[in-house]
């Protein structure tokens, strides 16, 4: 910071100097350099701030998942959320980033830039870009912990989190966002990652929840679904607020440029879709089950956010409201379907929010994309015909298949080796005591009856 002080004093000097200098001939060159510098600064600042916000989403996920599960597993779920970010960061540094954004091989995989080797100087754009991409990778990874909550072995989860951040996510990410990626080339639009991030996480989560089986007590002897209530709803709600806040980095930051003024438009569509999602989920649940259920409403807000993520730059505000509304209803139906029909136990609704609404949102680009917004792609409802829609569906299916197959392979190997699930006794006593040797709420009287 000694340095800082120098700069701080130099600034006025600099300004004066500049003024003097500028009045001489050949000043244009220097001015142009200044402008280029400033453009870089503006972009760097914008994308960094966005990355910080996306980082903060980790806290949001941790709180939502903790709040919507039981007190006896709180330490465990928080450790999972914290450590998947830590392991993910390191894995993405050593391997993931290169696979995702390195020089393309056959449209399938990147091959250069391991350990940030592409960044030649400290002012390289690669640092900014890496951080932004790293927090994205961690988002995909962390989605899974919610669906696998309250029964997954901690060590297995750590291994999984390295694998998704190092390989699974970056490879499909390369298809979509890597230069030369086959879906990118095909014109697939997933602006901020409904598919690239959320549905990858969501589909892996589905595989995980399926292979684990439901929590003890989740289904009655007659197969009926039972309530396992979350233990700290205000905390979960705070998590949703934090996620929403973070999403203002996630979507508008995905311009990767602060000079791109559509960042404001993107923030607006993001906000409206989330609001619409919460409202429609709440109303739908109210009509269907008689009460406005908070946990579903919060899922609705997240559904709206995930749903608009692919098309946030390409659709009008009104379309954003429609997309959010549909996502809000979809998430409620999907939660019920997965819970009661498929009988897969997803404690926080991660699959419905991220996989289902992520896929829907990606397809919605093929329907609602409009000229004059974003890259100019046109969807079915705005004179674009079926072309874009088909591309979108292709991408959703391909990435979904990749994520599910990848998930099955990872979890099968883990099941056969370390073991995927804790023992029944451990599950009953709570993972906090058994896996971490501590309680989340020492001193509080918490009733544990299942």
């Amino acid at each position: 910071m000694f340095n800082k002080i120098k700069k701080f004093l130099l600034m006025p000097a600099l300004i004066v100097g500049m003024l003097v200098f500028a009045s001489y001939a050949h000043a244009e060159d220097s001015l142009a350099t200044n402008i280029a510098d400033m453009t870089s600064s503006i972009n760097t600042i914008w994308v960094l701030v966005a990355a910080f916000l996306v980082f903060f989403m980790q806290a949001g996920f941790a709180l939502v998942e903790t709040g919507f599960t039981r007190a006896k597993n709180s330490v465990n779920i928080i450790m999972k959320n914290a450590m998947d970010f830590c392991f993910g960061s390191i894995a993405f540094y050593f391997i993931g980033y290169a696979l995702m954004f390195g020089a393309d091989k056959a449209g399938l995989i990147g091959t250069t830039g391991f350990m940030l080797s592409a960044a030649e100087s400290t002012s390289s754009w690669h640092y900014t870009f890496w951080l932004f991409q790293c927090v994205f990778a961690a988002t995909a990874a962390t989605i899974v912990s919610g669906a696998m909550a309250e029964r997954t072995r901690f060590s297995s989860y750590l291994v999984y989190s390295v694998l998704i951040s190092a390989f699974l996510y970056p490879i499909s990410g390369h298809w979509i966002w890597g230069t030369g990626g086959w879906l990118a080339t095909a014109g697939f639009v997933d602006f901020a990652g409904s598919t690239a991030v959320h549905s990858v996480g969501g589909w892996v989560a589905l595989m995980g929840a399926m292979m684990l089986g439901p929590r003890i007590g989740k289904y009655g002897k007659d197969g009926s679904s039972r309530v396992i209530a979350g233990h700290n709803i205000p905390m979960a709600a705070l998590g949703v607020f934090i996620l929403w806040f973070g999403w203002f980095g996630f979507n508008p930051g995905s311009t990767l440029s602060g000079m791109d003024l559509s960042i404001a438009h993107i923030a607006v569509t993001t906000n409206l879709s989330a609001a619409a999602g919460a409202i429609s989920a709440m109303c739908f649940v109210w009509l269907k089950f008689g009460k406005p259920d908070l946990s579903m409403t919060m899922n609705g807000a997240l559904a709206g956010l995930v749903g608009i993520t692919a098309g946030c730059a390409n659709v009008s505000p009104l379309s954003a409201i429609i997309i959010g509304t549909i996502a809000g209803i979809l998430v409620v139906m999907s939660v019920e379907f997965i819970d009661k029909t498929l009988k897969i136990d997803d404690p926080v609704g991660a699959v419905s929010v991220h996989a289902v609404c992520g896929s829907f949102g990606t397809i919605a680009v093929g329907l609602f994309a409009q000229e004059g917004y974003g890259s100019g792609v046109k969807g079915l409802f705005f004179g674009g015909g079926l072309t874009q829609l088909i591309t979108q569906i292709k991408g959703v299916v391909a990435v979904g298949a990749w994520a599910m197959v990848g998930g099955i392979i990872i979890f099968t190997i883990l099941k056969k080796t370390i073991g995927l699930r804790v023992s029944a006794e451990e599950e009953i006593k709570g993972l906090d005591i058994e896996e971490h040797g501590m309680e989340a709420y020492a001193g509080f009287q918490v009733f544990m009856t299942e």
């Binding site: 009460k291 899922n299 819970d339």
Partner: protein, 113 residues
């Protein structure tokens, strides 16, 4: 000596305490409890699953009294807790063999008050 255990609606606790005080009974021990009885529970709707909750919040009051205080105590509890609605609660009376005040070592009736 008797040990009186009363299970009442939580929100009637202030009234019961007041009625007891009026009857000159100021010592008691309170725990919170969950009760299952004639009173219907309520339905919980959580994430699309509807479930009947049968365990309702109750307050459990324990009062040790000398025999001549039993009747006033019961009357006071009833006075404070009764609303004529299902769920008002129950009172149980047990025989108390002995009572000791830790601070002084006093025993029996002397120790109760």
């Amino acid at each position: 000596m008797k040990l009186i255990i009363a299970l009442i609606q939580p929100h009637k606790l202030p009234d019961v305490k007041e009625a007891l005080l009026e009857a000159n009974i100021g010592k008691m021990t309170i725990t919170n409890a969950l009760g299952c009885g004639q009173q219907q529970g309520y339905t919980e709707t959580y994430r699309g699953v509807i479930e009947e909750v049968h365990l309702l919040k109750k307050v459990r009051i324990e009062i040790a009294v000398n025999d001549d205080y039993v009747k006033p105590t019961l009357d006071a509890i009833i006075k404070g807790a009764r609303t004529d609605n299902i769920g008002d609660g129950k009172i149980f009376v047990l025989d108390l063999v002995d009572c000791i005040r830790i601070r002084t070592g006093e025993t029996g009736s002397d120790a109760i008050g």
